[in-house]
């Protein structure tokens, strides 16, 4: 990864809606080079996705999230990868991580209500033969996600004009 690519990624992470021309100016490059680099980073799957961070509490959508700690039996030759794949294919599942520590996989799930997630755990997740135990922790409040703080407005405490 070149310094240019890293700087471009940093800028996109800050705001992926910045126009190509502005990105080019800020990076001291040209629109063409920036466009090509972004295309390539997408092609190489360095950049996977652009999505907004939503404060769901301010929407009408009902939504419940949980983090499920899952213990599994690893499989010969395949380790944890196969069972992780069996889990992440469920559309309720937002993220899956292999963890060190007291359990094997951390599974982030999202549903409309508690009942829906409970059903997912009992009938889908626990039903997998490699899954030996689960512990479901519901999210009560989101404070900060991907570096963005949810509540409290960003304030600028500076005076309007400073010499």
């Amino acid at each position: 990864m070149t310094k240019f690519e890293m700087e471009l990624i940093d800028l996109l992470r800050e705001d992926c809606r910045l126009p190509l021309e502005k990105l080019a100016v800020m990076l001291g490059s040209t629109t063409e080079v920036v466009a090509e680099t972004i295309d390539r980073l997408e092609e190489e799957r360095v950049i996977l996705h652009y999505a907004p961070t939503i404060n769901w509490d301010k929407t009408d959508r009902e939504r419940v999230e949980a983090m499920i700690q899952v213990n599994v039996t690893p499989q010969r030759d395949k380790g944890f990868d196969e069972v992780a794949g069996r889990i992440y294919r469920f559309e309720e599942v937002k993220s899956v991580y292999l963890m060190s520590g007291g359990y094997d996989l951390l599974v982030l799930v999202e549903g409309r209500n508690l009942k829906e997630l409970a059903l997912f755990v009992s009938s889908k997740l626990s039903a997998l033969e490699q899954v030996t135990g689960t512990q479901t922790c519901f999210v009560l409040k989101r404070y900060k996600e991907d570096g963005i703080v949810f509540e409290g407005e960003k304030t600028d405490n500076r005076l309007v004009i400073v010499p």
Partner: protein
């Protein structure tokens, strides 16, 4: 009735030229300000946390007049590592209440009635008043856009008289963003060597230079250590403006006089702030001053955005290579700096500072700080473009 009680030499100094702007801009709720001469970053959390911990631990007393010994040592290390200048922390460094205090007491330590102090202009608003308060006479040296606002040895030589005591060297420069590179400084050093004057080197923006040009500290040039008082602080590089911590480094003979003034006038810089500054430097030693690097890179991107923005609207804009200001020329609009800024504020709700606030030679320019979010800078550029196009 109070006139007779006011010191006439203080009364003669006009109030800061940007005060009036401030009063108008402060009442406009949705105005975007490019007038802010301080970082838009909040002090890094680990630094804030160190100060909180020290308060909880009861570190609430005075420190020694010179400053916390560990902080003095860290400053010595920092100055050597970053700028290749050696100072003895026990004798040649003094922690002050911001670089502002350092400017004030350095001048008071050296300057007396009849002494002249050379001040390149445009430059920071407080140099000349501080010279006057010290009892001296400020002598402006005009710097020009075509020289990228550098101080030239010719201009310096011309301004020196038998009364000249010292030169203020304010680079990287507020408001122009101009810098002095090694060759430029060497030319100045030659004059200093010949004329034997002191140099007050205000390096508060030293960490903020762009385009691979690292700041060269004047005292690092051969023979110049003896003639230089170096001033710096934590405000700009570490986003620590409100903490008010700065420092002065130089020959013991002068630092000890500054210490005397500081001792009687101030006692010591705030202990909590010194602890915070210590954390900034100790942490920086471990990770090669990463806080500063990240902020510098962010400023650099915004700097390019602004320069390009001004050029796109047809204004002459010299490329600033330091600090966080652009200083475009607005001469082509036919307006004075003051008129331009007034109308921009009233008609388009963008606050900039007229170049004249930084000396008469700032006429025809405006100072725009880019220490503001990219989204706001983009809106500001759009509104200014509309304003400038509307004038033509």
């Amino acid at each position: 009735m109070y006139d007779k009680f006011i010191n006439p030499s203080v009364a003669a100094v006009p109030p800061s030229g940007i005060r009036r702007f401030f009063d108008i801009a402060a009442t406009m709720k949705d105005a975007i300000s490019l007038g802010v001469g301080e970082p838009d970053f909040v002090t890094p959390y680990h630094i804030r946390n160190a100060a909180i911990n020290s308060i909880i631990d009861g570190e609430t007393q005075y420190t020694g007049n010179r400053g916390l010994p560990q902080l003095l040592e860290e400053i010595a290390y920092y100055m050597e590592r970053r700028f290749d200048v050696k100072y003895n922390p026990k004798k040649e460094i003094l922690v002050t209440v911001g670089a502002s205090e350092a400017i004030d007491i350095a001048l008071r330590a050296m300057v007396g009635p009849g002494d002249e102090v050379l001040v390149p202009e445009p430059s920071y608003v407080s140099y000349s008043p501080s010279v006057v308060f010290a009892g001296g006479t400020p002598v402006g040296i005009e710097t020009k856009a075509e020289d990228e606002f550098r101080l030239t040895p010719e201009a310096l030589r011309k301004a020196i008289t038998p009364r000249t005591k010292c030169l203020i060297l304010p680079y990287p420069n507020n408001p122009t963003g101009g810098i002095m590179e090694k060759e430029d400084l060497e030319a100045i050093a030659e004059v200093v060597r010949e004329k034997q004057i002191m140099v007050l080197n205000d390096e508060i923006y030293a960490e903020l230079t762009y385009g691979g040009r690292q700041h060269v500290s004047f005292a690092s040039l051969p023979g110049m250590w003896d003639y230089t008082i170096t001033l710096n602080g934590f405000s700009k590089a570490f986003a620590m403006t409100g903490w008010r911590v700065g420092f002065a480094c130089g020959p013991e003979a002068i630092i000890s006089v500054m210490l005397k003034i500081h001792q009687y006038g101030i006692m010591c810089a705030s202990r909590m702030s010194q602890v915070a500054a210590l954390e900034a430097l100790q942490n920086g030693r471990l990770n090669d001053y990463e806080d500063v690097r990240k902020m510098r890179e962010s400023y650099d991107r915004r700097r390019r955005l602004m320069v390009e923005g001004f050029r796109a609207m047809g204004l002459d804009c010299f490329e600033p290579r330091g600090a966080f200001y652009v200083f475009p020329s607005i001469k082509s609009t036919g307006l004075t700096s003051e008129e331009f800024c007034n109308r921009l504020l009233m008609e388009h709700k963008i606050a900039c500072v007229p170049g004249t606030a930084f000396g008469a030679s700032g006429e025809g320019h405006i100072r725009c700080s880019y220490a503001t979010g990219i989204d706001k800078l983009n809106i500001a550029l759009e509104r200014m473009e509309a304003f400038v196009k509307g004038l033509k």
